[in-house]
């Protein structure tokens, strides 16, 4: 996300570079370029105009024209302004017994997926979330929430009623009986100009009295972001925004627009299809990314989140002694899977292209099946795998003997790769293997 805005600003900075003093006409042209970059990033026209005029004012106040490096100065100001515009990182406010979170937004913005991710996050924090499918309009909306909730083993309100307000009230009662402490209401996707449906969500709001009313919005939204966020905020008074689909390559300027027009914080960003792919917005990090300082920090922290330190150390020891067995291999695969869409991660690694082929999602499923069909001894010592053992494993995992040979070949390759990386010192090892 934001790569292109980063590029834009970098190019602007380049044009300032090495020219000694900056002429006022150059500054003006520079501002024009920043405006274009913001517009290309889908920042709303009005927001972009305001932003540019603030940067310009600031630039003049700081005597940028006499500064030794105007490019650095502009980059810094643009960065500061971006951070300022994105606001502070704000956690969820969960008050009330039970606490309620109302998710609203347009059709297809990702409310149901976000509801599951939120519930998952809250459960990890020791709360008892309860999902309420409050969309009775869209065909199969209930089924979608139900199936996802089942897959994640999350409790949800199972009763189906025609009236959404009544459904929410009953769910509230049910939650008290069952002692759930945090309710997540997944409301029907609605257009911000659909009077009837907006009134309906207002009724739900006054019935459940949520401590959070979150607008779920697509990060790919264009100029209309201000109208959407503005209207929802005006009608039902939002407490925050969740930006979804940030794993795409949208520049995400909508984030700036919505923040600016509502004054409400962006609380989370959705960064993938896994149920753990929901992150608190970190304005500084986002701004850092905008300014092109790379993803390494993000990647390391993402990796740290899923890897138990002990296991990682144990693993490191084994690599040193070249005793990496298939069981470790499987553990690594499982950890990788928990980290979200793998190709994104691997692409961020130095020399990740070679590893990439191995990490195709479908391939991983097969690999896991094969290893699970082996006995513990076989996993530890692949040399004992003779033809009849291979046939048994193939039958057990629904694969072929060739697949198993292929896996062993790949496993040996990875083992070699690991050893090589260790040879070059631990810092060259990909973060998740450290």
């Amino acid at each position: 996300m934001f790569e292109n805005l980063t590029e834009g600003i970098k190019n602007i900075a380049k044009s300032f570079r090495g020219r000694g003093k900056l002429k006022e006409s150059d500054a003006k042209r520079g501002m024009q370029d920043i405006r274009r970059a913001l517009l290309e990033a889908d920042v709303n026209l009005q927001v972009a105009k305001n932003f540019v005029s603030e940067v310009e004012k600031e630039a003049i106040n700081r005597k940028i024209y006499e500064s030794f490096s105007p490019a650095e100065m502009i980059t810094k100001i643009v960065g500061e302004k971006l951070i300022g515009l994105l606001g502070e990182m704000e956690p969820l406010k969960l008050s009330g017994q039970p606490a309620s979170i109302l998710l609203v937004g347009l059709q297809g913005s990702g409310k149901t997926t976000t509801a599951i991710k939120l519930a998952n996050l809250l459960r990890k924090q020791g709360r008892k979330p309860y999902l309420i499918p409050a969309d009775v309009k869209r065909p199969a909306a209930f089924e979608q929430l139900r199936d996802l909730a089942k897959r994640e083993e999350l409790p949800y309100f199972e009763k189906r009623l025609d009236d959404e307000v009544n459904l929410c009230k009953q769910a509230l009662t049910q939650s008290v009986i069952r002692r759930y402490d945090t309710l997540i209401f997944d409301t029907a996707g609605r257009l911000h100009i659909d009077r009837e449906m907006i009134d309906q969500v207002k009724k739900i709001k006054s019935a459940v009295k949520p401590s959070e009313v979150l607008l779920v919005a697509d990060s790919m939204t264009g100029q209309d972001a201000v109208n959407i966020a503005g209207a929802f905020d005006k009608e039902i008074d939002l407490t925050g925004i969740i930006l979804t689909k940030m794993d795409g390559d949208a520049r995400g300027g909508a984030a700036l627009s919505m923040r600016e027009v509502t004054g409400k914080p962006i609380k989370f960003i959705g960064t993938g299809e896994k149920s753990s792919d929901l992150e608190l917005l970190q304005p500084e990090r986002l701004a850092t990314r905008i300014l092109g300082m790379g993803d390494i920090k993000t990647l390391q922290e993402k990796a740290e989140k899923v890897i138990e330190k002990e296991q990682a150390e144990e693993f490191q020891k084994k690599i040193k002694e070249a005793k990496l067995d298939l069981e470790d291999f499987l553990n690594q695969i499982k950890q990788l899977k928990r980290m979200g869409p793998i190709e994104d991660l691997v692409e961020m690694l130095p020399g990740g292209q070679d590893l990439k082929k191995l990490m195709d999602e479908k391939q991983l499923v097969q690999t896991e099946a094969i290893i699970q069909s082996m006995t513990p001894e076989e996993r530890r010592n692949t040399k004992m795998l003779n033809a009849s053992r291979k046939r048994r494993i193939a039958a057990g995992s629904g694969t072929s003997v060739q697949d198993i040979n292929q896996l062993i070949k790949e496993y040996n390759m990875v083992k070699k790769l690991m050893k090589q990386m260790m040879g070059r010192g631990p810092s060259t090892l990909p973060p998740f293997f450290r």
């Binding site: 290309e40 990033a41 059709q107 264009g222 100029q223 209309d224 004054g263």
Partner: protein, 288 residues
């Protein structure tokens, strides 16, 4: 907040403002027009180009000139399709949540109303509820639907779809696919496989490969169109969710940059709310 008001007012004021400015030789008129174009998501560079082209005309001709330019651009690419051998297979693709399934439901209705026999196939085996959603549409409008299940290979669903279409002698087979971000390479590979399986089945299949785009999408829609077009070749674009306040100007950028025609517009939630794209109407709505 002042900005909120300013922004929400902007839209309703535009047409009046332009009308008022017309003929007055107001120096702000061109930048007003540029702002209007940018705010419809056409994109800053295309907006600048279109506005710059007006500089030689007199202000009283700006609007007509612009309308002419856009009509020319959009109509150029809207050719009629020739006679197609049944079953006509239409493959619908797009990123998550744009409205593919709903578009298929409405397209099915449009065809059935015209006397065609329609079959749906759900190649969205990833999103739970996708098949149910398509089934409910089929039931509502009287289309057939072939069964698939969660986790099935979408290419095999497409394959079965063609078999069923041939066996049941249907006129149109509409294939739904799972939403996928165009940046996920493995999912784009899966898309290629679906297409390959279809053309192996019969060389002219699918006759249509349609990218569904959410009208509220900004500049990223162009990127989506480029990626999908590179991967599988698109024959058309459908803009969904035009019943909000978004203008869907990005469609113009797509036609301009890639030469892919806009086929349909989704303008509401009921089954009648998919209409063939007509350039004049679209442009008028842009300036409303």
């Amino acid at each position: 907040m002042g900005l909120t008001e300013a922004l929400t007012k902007t839209r309703s004021r535009f047409s009046n403002r332009i009308r008022n400015l017309l003929g007055k030789r107001d120096p702000n008129l061109l930048s007003e027009i540029e702002a209007l174009l940018i705010q419809s998501d056409i994109g800053v560079f295309a907006s600048e180009q279109l506005t710059n082209a007006l500089e030689r005309s007199s202000p009283s001709e700006y609007y007509q000139q612009l309308e002419k330019e856009l009509t020319h651009l959009l109509n150029l690419k809207n050719e009629e399709t020739q006679d197609q051998k049944p079953p006509v297979v239409e493959l619908y693709v797009g990123v998550n949540g744009v409205g593919k399934t709903t578009t298929i439901g409405k397209r099915g209705y449009m065809l059935i109303k015209g006397g065609e026999k329609v079959l749906f196939a759900s190649g969205d085996t990833y999103r739970t509820g996708a098949l149910q959603q398509l089934r409910q549409w089929a039931e509502e409008i009287g289309a057939d639907v072939i069964e698939s299940h969660y986790g099935a290979d979408p290419a095999s669903v497409a394959y079965d779809g063609v078999d069923a279409a041939l066996a049941r002698d249907v006129d149109y087979l509409l294939i739904d696919t799972a939403g996928r971000l165009h940046t996920k390479r493995n999912l784009m590979e899966e898309m290629k496989k679906i297409k390959r399986v279809l053309s192996n089945k019969r060389q002219d299949l699918p006759q249509e490969t349609i990218l569904v785009i959410d009208a509220t999408t900004g500049q990223n829609a162009l990127q989506q169109a480029k990626s999908f077009n590179d991967a599988i070749g698109l024959s058309g674009v459908t803009l969904a969710k035009l019943d909000g306040t978004a203008k869907g100007g990005i469609a113009i950028a797509i036609v301009k940059e890639l030469g892919i025609p806009v086929k349909f517009l989704g303008i509401g939630e009921s089954r009648e709310d998919l209409i063939p794209f007509i350039a004049d109407d679209f442009i008028k709505a842009l300036f409303e």
